[in-house]
Symmetry: C2
Subunit: 443 residues, 2 copies
């Protein structure tokens, strides 16, 4: 195999492999063969390798594909429907009635298509999804060619697609059987939150996750109110309760975690539980501040997620990472917290570790999948470039992302989606928007 | 005059005038005559007005030009030169030596050109600048056709272009005499900060500002350290000291203000002092959190600024406003704080009020200058559109800004800068970057 020509040799201005940490390669090339990274070498040496196709990428920094560790893809259809409201008003008076009325397999198909396409445009090559009809979301991710962790939603009341927990698990089991046909889809359990998933549900979820050898993603310590209520009802904090139940560990992805005392910190670090930080959602819903730098220094793996577009309101992981990098400094009280290189690592390799994908993706290393993003730094707002990683994190918007590959296949080529009829998708989404707006006005 | 045909009739999908507050006009038109807004009317009625030119703007929301209330334009040439460092290390070991070595009239000309062009691309029609060689910055703003408040820098040590305060004031006086030829430039004083401007300097600045009838912009309460040091040295907080000196008032623009106790709040409100909020700079330098919602509710006029690109690292006022809107909620502990409509008002009319330009710009009202921005909401990431203001603030990047007018003149037309040779400017800036990078490496 190693004697076969490269399928594609990329010649970017810079390569940031993320692993090893802090490295910026100038005038290097990256070669792809059979969907894998086959070569990273100085330009002149790489050009001596036979390659079926060679592509110059001037002014472009090549980075690992971004990993959006937490979201609710299909909720993109609710983007901006109801904003600037207290969490419970938003949920009870807007989102839950909307979901009860509108969410169907067709809704999840079109909403996930919108979310996946937005994410690919924004350099996301792997995303996690937690929503209803996960089998539909899995299919859409497969069709668009993007990597996905699809969470089977577990919650102690009837939801679209699953009247009972048994329904949800049965759907999950069927999806599990379909996985051989969905090579970029991973399954996980998504018990919603400690306050919506009782002890029985949690135990069954944990047992099945062990049996199926899959991960668990759960909203944990999103708000101070949630923690206070748990203490008042159960006499202990949700993280302590989860630890006591044996739920935590390297297979556990705790989303949000804005409330962290010393005991929580020790528990997270000791168990190897991953934290999925969603800074813009936490800000917009006034949930609190995740102490990212303290967690990082304590050895906790922190990844980043956009949350759903109904609350955020975009799936812009590069922008989310910028917000995380800025916010971490103010929360830590130190301008050196979460520097640009570590922020990029959080958005790539840490995300892959959290989702259990780090053997496959998250950094540019020979042998890993060719999940790559090319970002054009030639624009006015990126000049001058002293450090491409600083420019990428602090001064560059997702519109500068021009190329995205997953498993070596170009999903975004010169700014154009290759797997999606974008005009048709926009028309479909607008139609959903119009119907839901009319529905809301009682027409 | 009112019988003359309109110069231009714009037919956008939505108009958000900002004043009156909270209004979104659908299927209305805006007419321009002699650089002023001459008409805002329902589409059908407007189409009956004679117009030299008519332009359909489908899927576009028309908003007032954005006002960037605080920045250091030419520092864009230092963008990303030194990041993720403590404030004093950054200033003393990086920025000040760089400035001493490199800042000249040519530096300010090219750096301000970069900053102005980036800002026009990003929908900024008025910006404030505080840097050396203000007469050069004024000339550049004039040439690019953008509105600017140029601050005469006052600081108690020698700086590029002004060895003494007398030099700085003499340059300011000369610029004042040149103002009739610079119709979009306003002059202000920029005493740097309470800790770098002594009592004599402040008194002379105040006296001249009164005599010339111009505003004063000053960094105030940027960090807790600044406040503590002042209390320790002078026995009072900087804001109290400024109030006692008679410096505060509706002509005073206080930048940052991350430290606010009840007395500060009362002082700001009672004096009508404006607060210029720079959230991303405050986060990145770990300076603190400005309590925007509390200030707003107390009746203080809060505007928004990017600060300089050496610390931020962009001049993206739309992104800065999004950060402000998100952060204000978490800081206030309320998801209803600084909603999307008020955030847009902060970035437009409040900015114009702070700079003393609100009779002229900051809202779309008949008689005001035609300072307008057209934002294209047709993209995937903006769908579906329930409320264009929510979409604009929470889900739209500056790359969706397609048209910018100042005084009715198109500075950005269909995404292209009309007053700037962008390729030549980028080449000039890259040359600066290369020379400064070589200089830093001792070559």
């Amino acid at each position: 195999m190693s004697d076969a020509p490269l399928d594609l040799l990329l010649l970017p201005r810079w390569i940031v492999p993320v692993e090893p940490a802090g490295v910026v390669l100038e005038h290097h090339a990256l070669g792809i063969r059979d969907g894998r990274i086959a070569l990273i070498a100085p330009r002149e040496a790489a050009l001596r390798e036979p390659a079926r196709q060679t592509r110059e990428l001037p002014d472009t920094v090549l980075i690992p594909g971004l990993v959006n560790a937490h979201g609710h893809a299909a909720m993109s259809l609710f983007r901006g429907f109801a904003d600037d409201l207290p969490l419970m008003t938003w949920l009870q008076q807007h989102i839950w009635p909307l979901e009860a009325r509108w969410v169907s397999e067709a809704f999840v198909r079109d909403g996930t298509a919108l979310a996946a396409a937005e994410q690919v445009r924004g350099g996301v090559t792997s995303f996690s999804d937690m929503y209803f009809f996960p089998e539909v979301a899995a299919q859409v991710a497969h069709e668009q060619g993007v990597r996905a962790q699809v969470c089977i939603p577990i919650i102690d009341f009837p939801v679209p697609g699953a009247k009972t927990r048994a329904d949800a698990i049965a759907a999950g089991r069927a999806l599990r059987e379909a996985l051989p046909g969905l090579p970029r889809v991973r399954l996980a359990f998504g018990p919603h939150a400690p306050y919506t998933v009782g002890a029985d549900s949690l135990q069954e979820t944990m047992a099945l996750a062990r049996e199926w050898d899959i991960r668990i993603q759960m909203h944990v310590h999103e708000t101070a109110h949630e923690v206070e209520e748990a203490v008042s009802l159960h006499g202990e904090r949700p993280l302590a309760r989860l630890a006591r139940a044996g739920a935590l560990g390297p297979h556990f992805q705790a989303v949000h975690v804005t409330q962290v005392n010393d005991e929580d910190m020790a528990t997270l670090a000791a168990t190897g539980t991953h934290v999925l930080h969603c800074p813009e959602s936490n800000l917009k819903l006034a949930s609190g501040f995740c102490p990212v730098e303290r967690l990082w220094q304590a050895g906790v793996n922190v990844a980043v997620g956009t949350d759903g577009a109904a609350s955020n309101n975009d799936l812009d992981l590069l922008g989310e990472t910028r917000t995380a990098a800025l916010l971490a400094k103010a929360v830590a009280g130190s301008a050196t917290a979460l520097d640009a290189h570590r922020a990029l690592r959080m958005a790539t390799l840490n995300g892959a570790r959290a989702l259990g994908l780090d053997a496959l993706t998250g950094s540019l290393e020979v042998g890993k999948a060719a999940d790559l993003v090319g970002v054009d730094l030639s624009g006015l707002a990126q000049q001058p470039v002293y450090d491409p990683v600083s420019q990428l994190i602090y001064a560059t918007g997702r519109e500068c992302i021009r190329h995205v590959w997953v498993d070596g296949r170009a999903l975004l080529a010169d700014g154009e989606l290759t797997q999606v009829d974008e005009a048709a998708l926009i028309a479909t989404v607008r139609d959903w928007g119009m119907r839901m707006r009319l529905g809301a006005s009682g027409a």
